[in-house]
């Protein structure tokens, strides 16, 4: 087996193949992963809203050994990834990292957040650094205002920038 610890390096190889096929191929894959992730998130997010999202990423924080801060407010959830283990592993790799590796995260999270009626602002900051800030708003106007502060704003299938 490819150990779960090495999944992101396998993921990286899949991305490199798909990127060569074209943007649509990459997006279709993100949507497939998004559908897979619905098993772990959709009901929780629908049922508990932002609190459910907090619950999910708090579990991920522990299980995926992330250095991240979570802040839950009445109308907003903020996730500040200080050291992303996923990109860190892809960079600590004997195989070449895909240059847009970070894009997959918004690629699968965005469609789920759209589906549950919330508004995602995904700031990757710098694709070479294992850090990012994800903000999820109840209010669309608030999210549009926040987009202007992003250093490297991500889109996803369903939200073209």
């Amino acid at each position: 087996m490819i150990p779960s610890d090495h999944f992101t390096r396998f993921y990286n190889e899949v991305f490199k193949f798909l990127e060569k096929q074209g943007e649509e191929d990459l997006e279709n894959y993100w949507l497939e992963i998004s559908k897979n992730q619905e098993k772990h998130t959709l009901e929780l997010f629908k049922e508990k809203g932002l609190a459910g999202m907090y619950e999910y990423w708090d579990h991920i924080r522990i299980e995926e050994n992330c250095d991240l801060d979570l802040k839950l407010e009445p109308n907003k959830l903020e996730l500040k990834m200080n050291v992303c283990p996923s990109l860190s592993k892809v960079q600590d790799n004997d195989a070449e990292p895909m240059k847009r590796y970070c894009d997959h995260c918004a690629g699968w999270i965005g469609p789920i957040i759209d589906k549950v009626g919330y508004h995602l602002v995904y700031d990757v900051i710098d694709r070479k650094k294992p850090q990012c800030v994800l903000k999820i708003f109840k209010d669309k106007e608030e999210s549009l205002k926040e987009e202007k502060n992003a250093k490297l704003l991500m889109g996803w299938p369903g939200k073209k920038l």
Partner: protein, 154 residues
């Protein structure tokens, strides 16, 4: 049988918690790639994993040190709580996986595991050994069970 291993460290020596749900994403990926592009493309990707991601293990095997593969197997099967046994000789290592927790976890998540799920093991192993004096064979013994052998090519 000699199951003691040298002190050389693994290239990827993960610690901390284990996120077994990644195996579910691997299963989804295998099904997606095969459906859209065919099994040969999926196998090519595994080949790249074997050759490039595991370049360090390959280098050790190339130089006659197959212990590093045993160390890799032991480390990750222990981390994932699999039931296995391993026999380590100078020129042959036999890993018998009695209960693969990756397979079992995917089965629990999605019900039907891709019939190509174990190709990740078979094809990645083949690529790691490709171009070295050794071969790695993988025999599927049943659901969630296999035997992986590295030995000198005849």
């Amino acid at each position: 049988m000699n199951n003691t291993l040298s002190e050389k460290t693994l290239r990827y020596n993960d610690k901390g918690n284990v996120h077994m749900d990644f195996h579910g994403a691997t299963n989804t990926t295998i099904e997606f790639i095969i459906k859209k592009y065919g099994v040969n493309i999926m196998n090519d990707i595994f080949k790249k994993v074997g050759n490039n991601v595991y370049a360090d293990i390959k280098k050790h095997i190339q130089s006659g040190n197959i212990e590093m593969l045993a160390k890799h197997w032991k480390h990750f099967f222990d981390r994932e709580g699999a039931d296995y046994s391993i026999s380590i000789e100078k020129d042959e290592i036999i890993l018998t996986v009695k209960r693969c927790t990756a397979y079992e976890h995917v089965k629990k998540l999605v019900g039907a595991v891709s019939p190509n799920f174990c190709d990740q093991t078979i094809k990645t192993n083949e690529a790691i050994a490709e171009g070295t004096p050794y071969e790695i064979t993988t025999e599927i013994l049943g659901e969630a069970s296999c035997k992986q052998i590295i030995r000198k090519r005849l």
